[in-house]
């Protein structure tokens, strides 16, 4: 109906505040969803791109242990085995200037069909020949070269595992051609890579392109002990698996934002419906059917939704750029070096944003639309009955709430591994508790009105009673604020508890005075080693009392990458390692005599392993099962660590190198002297980092904080969304009560007094929603810690709720509510009584 449409379309612009709030809510919700999705997918793409660029078109790989594969295996495979679709690869990390790169050492003559390179400028074919014949020659992406100020032919220093090597740029790769992930890769001939890394005689892996299964079987059989054949299909899965928990958590946060956005929209739409009740009643009396009314409201919401979506998409794109930086930083820190990624506009993200925005609008408008149909055709149905109806409805809401909470608890109890179900359960519980908030508000305002009124006077009592009585309007606003504040409590407590646990764990673990290791370029790969001669000299320094050696390597299994931590266990370390499963005495005995290993909490949880189980690991002498004697506390972000006796490690992996040492000084005050001595010994030989336990603690916590920056950003956004909603809600609320307040003015209340009344109400609303938020927030925190984090990362964290967090949240709620109410109450106070009295 043309005219019907006009009635609503003209209504909204007349109430720009409502319009703005609704649009803002949708836009923000959509923006957050789109931003997180874009950031996630762009980061993943960069991650996969980085991994793919390095792995190329290989269908399979032959990999070995930490010491790689003998190069003779490749020759044998190629000559005797006749496997011509094979390419040898040596990988590592290097840095040039301030920048870190993945190093890819290849045989240019074998690369056809594996990786594609597009030579930019400089020598074309000649460049490849130089790579083979001239030591130190390498190739870089032309942008990276430009960023480093290198021209083709320039010499430069390349730092590998702390040692300086001469190098020169033989050619650059064109920026457009080839795979995007090559921008953070230094490509060299195998010979150069081997020489730089000290890997003469060894390869990191052999890439293969095998078409048929018979070929795969044949090659697998012919492999020597210590090597395995892995398929590339599994690799992407594993790669993504590493960051899945991370990205799932991010997505969940974005859904939380949408949830608040939905509240916001519901807020606005239902207010417009409630405000127009009389008009809707008139229309009903004119014979507009319920279906037509509902259609009208939904159509309005749809139009709002679409406009909001457009704004949200733009906002989301901008936001994603910021978010992406944070996400890739986290990936760099914890998983793999991906360098700087750029936002790739994925159509799918846009679709998600649109669906979320439109869906949220329709969902949010559904209830108000239904409510609108309940607007009785206009006669003179008294207000009191309306409130009655709402009060009746409250019973229904409570039932739904209980059902939701029960459902959520059931979900959490029945499953114990699924992260997605964990989030779903949390969502149900949160929604259920949120639905209880209006009832809570009603109850509390009724109970408190009397006592407070006795203290503060009649008008205050009126104000407080007004809260409870006008539940049809205040309920939603209070709930939205409560959920937002609860989210801040939840995340605050979670992060606080987490940080506390990590801090405590670090303090326990970092019990030596100093730690010495080659610098770590990026998260993940760990095969650095201290030059053996240098090591001997350092250990012999007079300041040293005793030393704990450790070797840290990654091994590749068919189920993913595992970190091996081989240690010479010192008493201090032993005393400070907390075993959460397994009998301590037996476990340590087994560890010491090399008959068993210990695994970290995350590994135990994520892969369902326990003390007494066996874990299969690929060694230099073939795959072997190791008995697990215990599970120890660890806050690693990878897929788990296996800690074993260094002798056991040497026995099976035949690797003597040392990654890092924990130094216990004779006199802790000698720390600086020690550091100076190490610097003097290592100068020119290998770059080593000497860090005190305090510094490591600080660095680790910095990484921790950095990781949670994202979380902070997201929940701040959530609060912002809720705050905006509050402002809108209160404005609408006060506008609604124009007549009532006008009456008060007519009765002789001064503008000041009326304003004060309004402020008491908003204060009261803030306080009540804050109080409701407290238990809600603690519940959220508990679930986040014991369900979400546990299932995502396998960590075991003790919850500690600081009173300051709770008080802070309460203050936030009150402040938000009060601030939100300032403008409306000021407007209200200035309205002349007469105009207020007149029916709109």
């Amino acid at each position: 109906m043309n005219l019907l449409a006009k009635t609503s379309l003209r209504y909204l612009p007349r109430h720009p505040w409502q319009l703005a709030v609704a649009l803002l809510g949708i836009a923000l919700g959509v923006a957050v969803i789109v931003a997180v999705d874009l950031a996630n997918s762009s980061a993943q793409r960069a991650f996969l791109g980085a991994v793919d660029a390095v792995y190329g078109e290989a269908s399979h790989q032959v990999v070995g242990g930490p010491a790689g594969i003998p190069e003779s295996d490749y020759v044998r495979l190629r000559l005797d085995g006749g496997v011509r679709a094979s390419a040898p690869v040596v990988e590592g990390f290097v840095s040039i200037g301030e920048r870190a790169f993945n190093l890819l050492g290849v045989d240019p003559f074998a690369e056809a069909g594996f990786r594609t390179y597009q030579i930019g400028s400089g020598g074309q074919g000649r460049a490849w020949l130089d790579l083979v014949s001239r030591p130190g020659a390498f190739v870089l992406d032309e942008r990276a070269a430009a960023a480093l100020g290198l021209d083709v032919g320039d010499s430069t220093e390349v730092i590998v595992a702390g040692k300086k090597r001469p190098g020169f740029l033989a050619a650059t790769l064109a920026a457009e051609g080839g795979r995007p992930g090559l921008s953070d890769v230094v490509i060299s001939d195998i010979s150069t890579a081997q020489e730089w890394l000290g890997w003469n005689g060894r390869l990191s892996r052999i890439d293969l392109r095998i078409e048929d299964d018979a070929g795969v079987a044949r090659i697998a059989e012919g492999l020597p002990e210590g090597s395995q054949l892995l398929s590339a299909a599994g690799r992407s899965r594993q790669t993504l698996g590493m960051t899945r928990s991370f990205s799932t958590s991010l997505t969940a946060m974005s859904l939380l934002a949408v949830l608040v956005g939905v509240f916001l929209i519901y807020n606005s739409v239902s207010f417009t419906v409630i405000q127009r009740r009389p008009l809707l009643g008139v229309m009903r009396s004119l014979g507009v059917t319920r279906a037509e009314i509902a259609g009208l409201v939904l159509a309005e919401a749809l139009v709002l939704g679409m406009v909001g979506v457009v704004a949200g998409l733009g906002l989301g794109y901008l936001l994603s750029r910021e978010l992406l930086g944070l996400v890739t930083q986290s990936i760099n820190d914890h998983y793999y070096y991906v360098g700087a990624a750029s936002v790739q506009l994925a159509p799918w993200s846009v679709v998600k944003g649109i669906v979320a925005g439109v869906g949220a609008s329709l969902l949010a408008a559904a209830l108000p639309a239904w409510e609108a149909t309940q607007a009785p055709p206009r006669q003179t149905l008294a207000r009191a009955s309306l409130e009655q109806r709402v009060s009746e409805k409250l019973g229904l809401i409570e039932i739904c709430a209980i059902a939701a909470i029960a459902g959520g608890i059931l979900a959490l109890v029945v499953t114990d591994r699924s992260l997605v179900v964990g989030f779903a359960g949390m969502f149900l519980i949160v929604v259920g508790l949120a639905l209880l908030v209006p009832g809570f508000v009603a109850l509390l305002s009724r109970r408190l009105a009397g006592p407070i009124g006795r203290l503060a006077g009649l008008s205050t009592r009126m104000a407080i009673q007004g809260i409870g009585r006008s539940l049809s309007r205040t309920g939603v606003a209070v709930t939205a604020l409560a959920v937002a504040v609860a989210a801040t409590i939840g995340v605050d407590v979670m992060v606080g508890s987490f940080r506390g646990s990590v801090d405590a764990w670090l303090q326990r673990s970092l019990n030596a005075d100093m730690y010495v290791a080659p610098p770590r370029l990026a998260g993940g790969r760990a095969e650095r080693e201290i030059d053996p001669l240098l090591l001997r000299r350092i250990v012999a320094l007079p300041e040293v009392d005793h030393v704990g050696y450790s070797r840290s390597v990654d091994v590749v299994t068919s189920e993913g990458v595992r970190r091996l931590l081989a240690v010479d266990m010192t008493d201090e370390y032993r005393a400070n390692t907390r075993l959460t499963r397994g009998d301590a005495t037996a476990a340590w005995a087994g560890f010491d005599d090399g008959s068993a290993v210990l695994i970290s909490e995350p590994l135990a949880f994520l892969h369902n392993l326990d003390a007494g189980d066996e874990i299969l690991l690929p060694t230099a002498r073939g795959v072997r099962g190791f008995r697990i004697a215990g599970v120890y506390e660890d806050f690693d972000t990878g897929s788990g660590t296996v800690m074993l006796n260094r002798d056991l490690y040497r026995q099976w992996w035949q690797d003597d190198s040392v990654t890092a040492i924990a130094v216990y000084l004779e006199d802790p005050a000698e720390a600086q002297a020690f550091e100076a001595a190490v610097d003097a010994l290592s100068a020119g030989r290998q770059s080593l980092l000497v860090t005190s336990n305090r510094d490591i603690l600080k660095m680790s916590l910095d990484i921790f904080d950095r990781t949670f920056t994202i979380t902070n950003v997201l929940y701040l956004l959530t609060v912002a969304v809720a705050f905006v909603g509050m402002v809108g809600a209160f404005s609408a609320l006060q506008m609604e009560r124009i007549r009532e307040l006008g009456t008060l003015r007519a009765l002789g209340f001064t503008p000041w007094q009326v304003g004060g009344l309004v402020n008491v109400q908003t204060l009261g609303l803030g306080l009540l929603s804050g109080l409701a938020a407290l238990p809600l927030g603690v519940v959220m925190a508990w679930i986040l810690l014991h369900v979400i984090n546990r299932r995502a990362f396998g960590w075991q964290i003790d919850m500690s709720v600081s009173p300051s967090a709770l008080l802070g949240a309460l203050a936030l709620a009150v402040a938000a509510a009060t601030l939100a109410g300032i403008y409306p109450s000021w407007r209200m106070a200035r309205t002349a009584p007469a105009s207020a009295m007149r029916e709109e």
Binding site: K6, L279, L286, G287, T289, P376, Q379
Partner: protein, 242 residues
């Protein structure tokens, strides 16, 4: 009671309104308030009836029942032969759309539509094309003397003007029955008389039946019959209990 006029030997035209043992109570807080107790009444087409009573005496309730907005707890209501109480909500809404017009105390014009658009609304709801409805609304506006205000928004009109527009709107789709709830309640005496005059004139022109709820005997005087609600009963002012 006017005798129903027979039309050339065919059956007599059905009554405009028939109430058959209609009962209605309301719950307010904890109390049960019986408003109508098994009422029977009949209104002939073209008649005007005034419902007299103070606020809360049940006249609004009766209007709600007659218009089909509300359903009685017991009994049946027939409008021009159609058993309203047997229809579902949607059917009643559509019936209302076609056959009823309302005039309210507080005018209740839709503020986001112009004066002319307000009058067109019931026409368009009944499927009249835009051009025809435009024409008709202007005709009606002319009839109530407000042709010049066609494109104004209601907020710009005085109370009396708004009510006149409301009257035009009520009769736009030529409904058989018009219900008026305190039509002059929000107007001063002089304007009120003016408005009543317009109302009467329009009724005569269109031949609609009217039920008018009011607390003022003066206003009730324009009706041919006067009913009063009291203790759940309907009493004709002539003293006969219905």
């Amino acid at each position: 009671m006017r005798v129903a006029v027979a039309h050339n030997g065919s059956a007599p035209a059905p009554s405009a309104i028939r109430l058959l043992n209609v009962s209605k109570s309301y719950r307010e807080g904890e109390r049960l308030h019986v408003v109508l107790d098994a009422i029977n009444a009949e209104v002939v087409a073209g008649d005007t009836v005034a419902l007299l009573g103070s606020s809360g005496s049940g006249k609004s309730t009766l209007l709600n029942l007659i218009s089909g907005i509300d359903q009685p707890d017991a009994g049946a209501i027939e409008l021009a032969g159609t058993r309203l109480t047997a229809l579902d909500e949607r059917a009643r809404t559509l019936y209302r759309r076609r056959n009823l017009g309302f005039v309210y105390q507080f005018f209740n014009l839709l503020p986001t539509l112009t004066v002319a658009e307000n009058i067109r609304l019931p026409l368009e709801l009944n499927g009249v094309a835009a051009v025809a409805s435009e024409r008709r609304s202007l005709e009606l506006l002319d009839a109530v003397g407000l042709a010049a205000r066609a494109t104004s928004f209601p907020e710009r009109l005085s109370g009396g003007e708004q009510q006149r527009v409301a009257i035009a709107r009520a009769l736009a789709h030529a409904p058989a029955l018009v219900l008026a709830d305190e039509p002059t309640g929000n107007l001063d005496e002089e304007t009120g008389e003016q408005v009543l005059g317009v109302l009467q004139k329009m009724l005569v022109e269109h031949g609609s039946t009217m039920v008018l709820a009011t607390h003022s005997r003066k206003v009730a005087a324009i009706a041919r019959r006067v009913w009063r609600t009291q203790n759940g009963h309907l009493i004709e002012e002539s003293g006969i209990s219905l």
